[in-house]
Amino acid sequence: MLNLKKLCCLLAIMALLIVTGCNGKNDVNDHAESKTTKHTDQISEIKSNTEQMLSTVKELKAAVGDQNVDQVKQLGKTLNDQWLAFENDVRDAFPLLYTKVEKYEQPIFAQASVDAPDLSVVKTQIAGLTDALNELKSAKLTKQNTTKLLDQAVKDYKDYVKTQADKLIEATTAFTDAVKAGNIDLAKQKYVDARVYYERIEPIAESFGDLDPKIDARINDVDDPSQWSGFHRLEKALWVDHSLKGMNPVADQLFEDVKALNEKIANLELKPQQIVAGSMELLNEAAISKITGEEEHYSHIDLVDLAANVEGSEAVYHAIIPALEDKNKSLAQKLDEQFLLMKQTLQKYKKNDQYVNYTTLNKDEIRELSNQLATLSKLMSQTAEIF
């Protein structure tokens, strides 16, 4: 990184070049004018599209009130189509608001896409989405500076991490309760739920040193198997031993460790470089231990983890979009397409809202996922251009 003094020097040179470089002054003005006209058109288009979405949201709200599941699903999809039609323009003009709309719109669409949507989730998202769309409707073009954009990115990502950590506690509680109740079938279900929230924010847990090994170690990671704790110890009990005998202390310990993680996250300080590095770590994890089926060696729910890693990485991408839009628009566009492609591919392996067992995938299918992950990592690694 350049220090401040060098940066000033650089800015001075750039200014010099701009001044000396402006021979075709008229050309420059013409260009600027046409650009402005284009922007004005684009913005009025954004506004009318936003109005459309707002009226769909209103209908959706009514449908949720009526508990009309079919209509909720249909409207959720309509809403997504409306958003896709102009989201690129929004990302271009109002990157901060873009991430805000995505934050609320995506979960609604996700619910609309499953067989049995959770209407309470849809309801909470509607409130946020309405606010975001209203803001978008009256937004004005302003140029943000990079530091501010990065600060905002960190803040948005921290919010995400906190939400996931809270959900992790909830899901872990349900899981460990089932373990302690000796209910193997229920525990298996709850295990899957809890893994999602952990895998989305795993690099954060790893940054706290001993917590990740306690929560997420696999048997090969520990020196003394009798000291083995955490999710995978219970995974083995559930899927291999088919017995929860002696697992109560392990369940209690897991709950304590997850609680400790949550507390540490509450006071988390992050730098923008750390969050981008974290998103790379998530994709690396997916590419090294999930794609090979090593992570969930007993339950074979590796696709759940893999998808969660991708989602966690996408959360970083969403947070840095405003800064990225500023530095390298085409990279933002490519990442958008690649995340979409990755999610579409993963969707192929969902049956009844659940990911299929890793062992049912053939070589070509695994290779396709691996190739797409590699492309995603390559693009994501270039986002460091914002620094």
Binding site: L7, L10, I13
Partner: protein
């Protein structure tokens, strides 16, 4: 990236000059500063005689790596294109062209001026020079038509003789070790230099092409002498001289009847031939020599005293390798490499053999009939098994400013 000039962008130069404290100089003598910086950061070889000799020009009428005197190491990489977008494919060929130009000159990729980004160059070959590196590109028939689909609008430009090699008797071909949309042959006298090149080509392809298989090869022979294969016999004695341009035009280089992008190009025929070393090593010297039809030590054909004496087929065992190959009356230009690839855990035998590579202008008339005859009758078959196969069109060489295969796409 598409619009970036090779080397430094203006912004990168500015950053550099600022970082190096040279900023003030830019306004007045910008070019000088730029030159200095580029020299400092890219490993451009100094123009000592020794280094110049190790550089084989990437540009030319024909691609390098065909009639280039054979280097010691090989990597052969087969790629499948993962996109259906013709522009992305062209972009990859442009990128590969830029990288190849650089690497064959012994230069690495520029340093990244942002420490948070991954380095552009993987770095392991820094300072090693060019080592006679050549990078040769070819197109498989699946690039023109895959499962009945013409993904890139190229099927009407398919060259004359690009048809898959037919299945042969005794074939044990593994599809995962065969074919591919694009073949890249990387050769150098330093294995690390060759590896660095192929690794960076694979890295650059992510998102557009995926590596299907990658094989390494090695070879040695005193200068001017025919190298030996892993059975201990000289291999390639009958090859035409790399200085005989007239003969090359007869045997190797495509001309009339071929599309423009193939005029001056050729076809690469590939076979991955596993050789059963442990069995061979326990066969008698007589059996070994009868199998080839040549003397093991001198390489002389039966009935003659020296390696390059003309072969008298009547003196050779009928099913010997050389007798059969000669009887077709066809010529190909061989440029294969030995390989070893660990052991077979079931038997403990070494997995080794020959990356058979030959170049010829009409493989359907020369290579294929020769292979058919040998596959059926060759005494050598007892000791070998063909496990990989491929045929690729090698486009003509390019001029500076063009990208590889450009004439196929324009």
């Amino acid at each position: 990236m598409e619009n970036k000039q090779p080397g430094y962008t203006r912004r990168e130069i500015l950053k550099l000059s600022a970082a190096a404290g040279l900023g003030v100089a830019v306004g007045a003598s910008g070019l000088g500063t730029v030159g200095m910086i580029v020299d400092t950061f890219s490993a451009k070889p100094t123009s000592s005689n020794k280094q110049e000799k190790t550089v084989i020009p990437f540009y030319g009428k024909h691609q390098a790596g065909i009639v280039t005197p054979q280097q010691t190491y090989l990597y052969l990489a087969s790629f499948d294109i993962t996109t259906n977008d013709r522009r992305e494919l062209i972009h990859l060929l442009k990128t590969w062209t830029k990288l190849s130009e650089r690497f064959t000159q012994g230069r690495n990729l520029d340093a990244t001026q942002n420490d948070w980004l991954p380095p552009k160059d993987t770095g392991e070959a820094l300072g090693l020079g060019a080592s006679r590196l050549t990078i040769t590109f070819g197109f498989g028939s699946s690039l023109f038509n895959k499962d009945g689909k013409d993904r890139f609008g190229l099927s009407h430009r398919k060259p004359l003789h690009l048809k898959p090699i037919p299945t042969m008797p005794r074939d044990a071909i593994d599809p995962s070790l065969s074919d591919g949309d694009i073949i890249v042959q990387v050769c150098a006298d330093d294995q690390l230099v060759a590896f660095h090149a192929v690794r960076n080509l694979i890295k650059a392809a992510v998102g557009t092409a995926t590596i299907k298989w990658l094989n390494a090869g090695f070879l040695n022979g005193k200068r001017g002498e025919t190298p030996r294969n892993l059975f201990g016999f000289k291999d390639g004695t009958a090859n035409l001289s790399i200085n005989d341009v007239k003969k090359q035009n007869q045997v190797i280089w495509c001309g009339q009847g071929e599309p423009d992008w193939m005029k001056g190009g050729t076809y690469l025929a590939y076979r991955n031939i596993r050789m059963f070393l442990e069995i061979w090593d326990l066969s008698s010297l007589k059996e070994q020599e009868d199998t080839f039809g040549r003397r093991k030590l001198s390489g002389a054909p039966y009935g003659k005293g020296h390696e390059h004496d003309p072969v008298d087929v009547t003196k050779l065992p009928k099913d010997s390798h050389v007798a059969l190959a000669k009887s077709t009356g066809q010529e190909i230009f061989r440029r294969g490499y030995n390989y070893s690839d660990g052991i077979d855990p079931k038997t403990g035998n070494i997995k080794a053999g020959l990356q058979f590579i030959s170049f010829q202008k009409n493989p359907q008339a020369s290579f294929v009939p020769m292979l058919a005859l040998l596959s059926k009758n060759d005494a050598l078959n007892e000791y070998t098994k063909h496990i990989g196969s491929g045929l690729y069109a090698i486009p003509r060489g390019i001029k500076k400013g063009e990208y590889i295969g450009q004439a196929l796409f324009s």
